[in-house]
């Protein structure tokens, strides 16, 4: 089935699908059917989904079709299929967190799912993840680890923790996959799988009904194939929620209207420390992306963040005890049911002292001030998302230039700073390394200024074709 733009429905963006549905060029039933068929064909190997709501999605698509034909007002995502990480509550189904032992059906939708539905989105199912969102590799020992579609022969890390979200979007199983991000868990799978990933400002999108990992660092946001789609999903999901203590009352911009604006004159700060720390296969495409933004009329200059080197210790001092505090009651009853790496990482959090936790929170304020100070001189920061490309699943060490590191440490090297500070970040594909694996940049904005980074990201995507390439394991 092809849409009016000529490409198969499963490769159309959420924006294209919403417009086609509203214009009666295609029925929501056709859109949902095309995606369910794609899931049926490919997901046996890819393992992006933990649950598929085929009957419910088709029933919802029929209602959506009736609304179009009746001329009712349509939401931003009317008739658009979406899927959510299995950390988001969906009424009547268990929120497993990727585990085997959380099986109680949720009494209500999470706030994000409710807002997606209110915007007309149709829920296809729930997506795989690193168990309890606690790992950047994207491993799930219970349900099988999602297959990174950019390598048909070797099982490479899909990136985590929102592994299923990255794979589903990259493979054309869904145009939108919702994820969560505590140390990079939206941006890491986006980078490994060659998609866009938006971590909004801390407090921008409600976390009510999403299983927590670290209250101080958790964010939720979308993975999509285009920045315009991320803007559309953010417009549908952002806003104050009095039930979320971290939720901000800050005004919500019209992201859909601003995403197409020209970027001439916008000032971009290339974060030299992070570029220098990346492997050469990453450095080249990242610097080329900065040059492309310059060609589009932006002004690129180098910036430094001397305190950024403390992001790891600060993140660990906060994340460890908060994750352990949430999971301790579950660990007492189900320790043996956790996958071993997650159980051990959680247990390690028990050994961060109260003083270290407070020092982490103090340092967080200073890091935030430093990033804000840099953003007085520029409109956004540009960094690599990862220092490497997606490693094979079984490796225990990766090479970054001449250095060796663990996959976990390497994958979060450039992402966790912005969980600590809460700044909005969008990860965007910016090329491919020699093995055909995606490379990605992060654009970091001022607090609550997602509009500017999405504007830059979309302008970059309009000028390049990285996001239009299709992975070999999901042609």
């Amino acid at each position: 089935m092809r849409g009016s733009s000529g490409s198969p429905l499963h490769w159309q963006s959420a924006t294209e699908l919403a417009r086609a549905v509203a214009g009666r060029d295609v029925s929501p039933v056709e859109v949902v059917t095309a995606h369910l068929e794609r899931i049926h064909t490919l997901d046996g190997r890819l393992r992006a989904f933990l649950a598929v709501f085929a009957d419910e999605a088709l029933a919802e698509a029929k209602r959506a079709e009736a609304a179009v034909m009746a001329g009712r007002p349509l939401g931003l995502l009317h008739g658009v299929p979406v899927a959510v990480k299995d950390l988001f509550a969906v009424k009547g189904t268990p929120t497993t967190g990727g585990s085997r032992f959380l099986t109680t059906p949720a009494p209500a939708d999470s706030r994000v799912v409710a807002r997606l539905r209110a915007a007309g989105a149709i829920l296809l199912g729930k997506l795989n993840l690193h168990e309890f969102a606690f790992g950047p590799e994207g491993i799930n020992a219970h349900h099988g680890t999602s297959w990174n579609p950019w390598d048909g022969g070797t099982h490479r890390m899909p990136g985590g923790s929102s592994s299923g979200s990255g794979v589903a979007v990259a493979a054309g199983l869904a145009p939108v996959g919702m994820g969560s991000d505590t140390g990079g868990s939206i941006r890491i799978p986006a980078a490994c799988c060659g998609t866009v990933g938006l971590k909004p400002t801390y407090g921008r999108v409600s976390r009510v009904g999403v299983l927590p990992l670290s209250w101080s660092l958790d964010h939720v946001g979308p993975l999509t194939r285009t920045a315009a789609d991320a803007a559309r999903v953010l417009a549908a999901t952002a806003g104050h929620d009095p039930r979320d203590p971290s939720s901000s009352p800050a005004a919500v911009a019209d992201y859909v209207a601003t995403v197409g604006r020209p970027v001439r004159g916008l000032r971009v700060g290339l974060l030299r420390e992070y570029v220098d720390l990346a492997d050469p296969v990453v450095q080249g495409p990242v610097v080329a992306a900065a040059r492309e933004l310059e060609r589009l009329g932006s002004v690129v200059r180098e910036v430094t963040l001397p305190l950024a080197r403390f992001a790891g210790p600060v993140s660990l001092a906060i994340l460890g005890p908060e994750a352990f505090a949430y999971h301790e009651p579950l660990l007492r009853r189900h320790a043996a049911d956790y996958q071993p790496d997650v159980r051990q990482r959680l247990a390690v959090g028990r050994f961060v002292g109260a003083t270290e936790y407070v020092q982490g929170q103090r340092a967080r304020s200073r890091l935030c001030d430093e990033v804000n100070a840099a953003l007085r001189a520029v409109d956004c920061l540009l960094t690599p998302t990862l220092p490497i490309v997606a490693p094979p699943l079984r490796v225990t060490e990766v090479r970054i230039g001449e250095r060796q590191d663990t996959p976990r440490s390497a994958l979060t090297l450039f992402t966790r700073l912005f969980n600590v500070t809460g700044h909005p970040v969008v990860a965007v594909p910016c090329g491919f390394a020699a093995e055909g694996l995606p490379v990605s940049i992060q654009l970091v904005g001022r607090p609550f200024d997602e509009a500017t980074i999405l504007q830059l990201a979309q302008a970059y995507q309009d000028a390049t074709d990285w996001h239009t390439r299709r992975p070999p394991a999901a042609p």
Binding site: T201, A253, A347, R446
Partner: protein
């Protein structure tokens, strides 16, 4: 602290959690690594920084950082 002492302490702290016996050999080195990383905070220039009781990322942000927009 040597490894045996650290493992004794770890077992005491996690006494209420039925950790599988096979975990201990991996857990103790992980605790050591975590302690070493967190100890890097000793070199952090805290100055007069306070932990913000209600953290907001726009604290100290440029004036007008949030664009004029529609309220929800």
């Amino acid at each position: 602290m040597d490894r045996a002492e650290l493992e004794r302490l770890a077992r005491e702290c996690l006494a209420r959690i039925p950790m599988p016996p096979a975990d201990w050999a991996e857990l103790v080195p992980q605790i050591e690594r975590m302690c070493a990383i967190v100890a890097e905070l000793e070199g952090f220039p805290f100055d007069d920084a306070e932990p913000a009781p209600t953290f907001a990322p726009d604290r100290g942000a440029p004036e007008g950082a949030a664009p004029p927009a529609l309220s929800r």
